[in-house]
Amino acid sequence: MKLAELASTIRSKNAGVDHITFDVIFSDRAAYERAVASGALSRESVAALYGVDVSRVVSFVTYDPGNAIKFTLRRNRSAASPGEPDPFGSQSYPPLFDIEIT
């Protein structure tokens, strides 16, 4: 099953001026636990997906109160610097849709 079919919200947004944070939120505990247990989302897998060094994934957490998986990438330059894309970081999530959850 693809992540977009299992999750209820998949979003990205600035977290401070140097980072984009990604939230994958599930509507129920079972879906959340299934996604976590699958290991499909990890520091390594999201670094590979976005083509950045794993050291740029500054945080990867499971958030039980929100049934959510959350990770944060460091930008090349601070948000809204010249050349730096997507000043709000709000359109960087769609590549997550097709991650296969087994």
Partner: protein, 468 residues
């Protein structure tokens, strides 16, 4: 007895507050109206250039609603991060708007406090010289004299103490410079005797107004009922609900660590947070723990100018050119280097934002290929002067037109202009400072520490022009 905090907007002035739920909020008799006006999402330009990002008329609209509502109910009004950036210009602008509104509406006299928190880069350099460290946040290096020299404008982000002190001094209206979103709510809750863990929790939950409710709506009012153990949050728009899921989702929004909210003086630990549904539209949140810091650390935000900016818009439709797009862009870069030297030589930068390939996500795009029949290219040039930026931008965009590709069918221009002109963009800025300054003035209350937060009280609307 619970305290009711009313939050009408997550960014005052950005788009106007919705009146319906605002008035429903007033009818619910809140104990204070509290609204943040700041954001870092707007980028470093408004801070660095010291300009408002929101239209003055929308700021006036929101401030008028809030002021009339608060004065009618006789409750405090607290505005955080005045005019988007919280610089002294922002504070002064909001003071002026409040005075104009009070005069136009003939409001009875009230006390207004201003708390200014702009800090000169030279003053920060003095801190460095005095042996203090400007510690980098989230992986940044400590600030150096060189970084401070590149900083045009900076603000210190205030916590609870200066705001609470202004309320204790008798302010009915408080206009804050740059401030922690959660602190503007927590300051009032603490003033009324609530413990810090629920005071800050209330601020964290309420700071973005209707973003903590579902379905998604902006600029609608929410209210938090705060007591010593927790916060019960509900929306005032009839179509919204505050559910455990919507509040938990908001608690993790636009932050790296969903379990911690750090403000000067400590961190709110949200690891053991509980979200309990009260009814269809209300949810109670509890279980936050306050962890005091060993020192009073204040965040400093700073922005500095990188250069002047010019922009042109181009499009390419020829499939042959699209299949060799890097060669097209390469031709343009080659012509730039031929005329001006490399970017490093003369200090210009050119960026090709190729919409239809990777214009949205840039270097994060996993699939930077062209899969449709055309692309749009935004050519962005940054240079030390506007004239050079425009010239560089014109040469870069016209050389997409003149790019030489073997075997091309079209020999009358390899790209289409949106319009053969160069638009002057706002100057380019960057966030130079996102750092923590540790204040350790012995015996000095933190609200005055190092002179970062400067309070002024004035009386407004005292029947000016009325003869006794």
């Amino acid at each position: 007895m619970a305290l009711k905090l009313m939050s009408p907007t997550g960014h005052l002035g950005f788009t106007p507050i919705e009146r319906g739920s605002f008035e429903a909020g007033l009818a619910d008799h809140p104990d204070a109206i509290i609204a943040d006006s700041g954001s870092a999402d707007i980028g470093p330009h408004p801070l660095g250039a010291d300009e408002a990002h929101s239209p003055l008329e929308w700021q006036r609209h929101d401030l008028e609603l809030c002021l009339l509502g608060a004065r009618e109910l006789g409750v405090p009004l607290i505005i955080g991060s005045a005019s988007d950036t919280g610089t002294d210009r922002g504070v002064d602008s909001f003071l002026r708007l409040f005075e104009q509104i009070a005069r136009a509406r003939g409001l009875a006299g009230f006390t207004m406090a201003a708390i200014r928190s702009e800090v000169a880069a030279t003053a920060l350099a003095d801190h460095l010289a005095a042996g203090r460290v400007l510690e980098g946040l989230n992986g940044r290096e400590p600030a150096t004299a060189e970084v401070l020299a590149r900083t045009d404008r900076a603000v210190a982000v205030m916590g609870i103490e200066p705001i609470r002190a202004a309320l204790e001094a008798g302010a009915d209206v408080v206009v804050c410079g740059r401030s922690c979103d959660s602190a503007i709510f927590a300051a009032f809750a603490e003033l009324r005797g609530l413990p810090r863990h629920t005071a800050v929790l209330a601020g964290k939950l309420l700071e973005c107004a209707s973003f903590c409710a579902e379905p998604f709506m902006g600029k609608e009012t929410v209210i938090g009922e705060v007591d010593a153990d927790g916060v019960t949050v509900y929306p005032l728009h009839p179509g919204q609900r505050c559910t455990p899921a919507s509040l938990a989702s908001h608690a993790m929004y636009e932050r790296i660590d969903p379990y911690a909210e750090t403000i000067p003086g400590g961190t709110l630990d949200m690891t053991a947070l509980r979200f309990d549904r009260v009814d269809e539209r209300r949810t109670r949140v509890s279980g936050a723990v306050w962890r005091p810091d060993d020192a009073y650390r204040v965040k400093i935000e700073g922005a500095g100018k990188v250069g002047e900016r010019a922009v042109a818009i181009m499009g390419i439709r020829d499939p042959h050119s699209l299949s060799r797009l890097d060669d097209v862009l390469g031709w343009s870069r080659m012509k730039l280097a031929e005329r001006y030297g490399t970017a490093a030589d003369v200090g210009y930068e050119v960026f090709f934002h190729v919409y239809g390939r990777d214009g949205v996500m840039g270097y994060l795009e996993p699939n930077p290929t062209v899969s449709e029949h055309e692309v749009g290219i935004v050519v962005e040039a940054v240079a030390p002067t506007a004239e050079v930026a425009e010239e560089v931008c014109a040469l870069a965009s016209r050389n997409l037109f003149y790019a030489r590709l073997p075997d091309t069918m079209g020999t009358a221009g390899g790209a289409a202009f949106f319009s053969d002109e160069v638009f002057r963009g706002r100057p380019a800025y960057e966030w130079t400072l996102n750092h923590l300054l540790t204040l350790d003035e012995p015996g000095e209350p933190p609200d005055r520490a190092a002179g970062l937060f400067r309070r002024e009280l004035r009386t407004v609307g005292a029947r000016e022009g009325v003869t006794p």
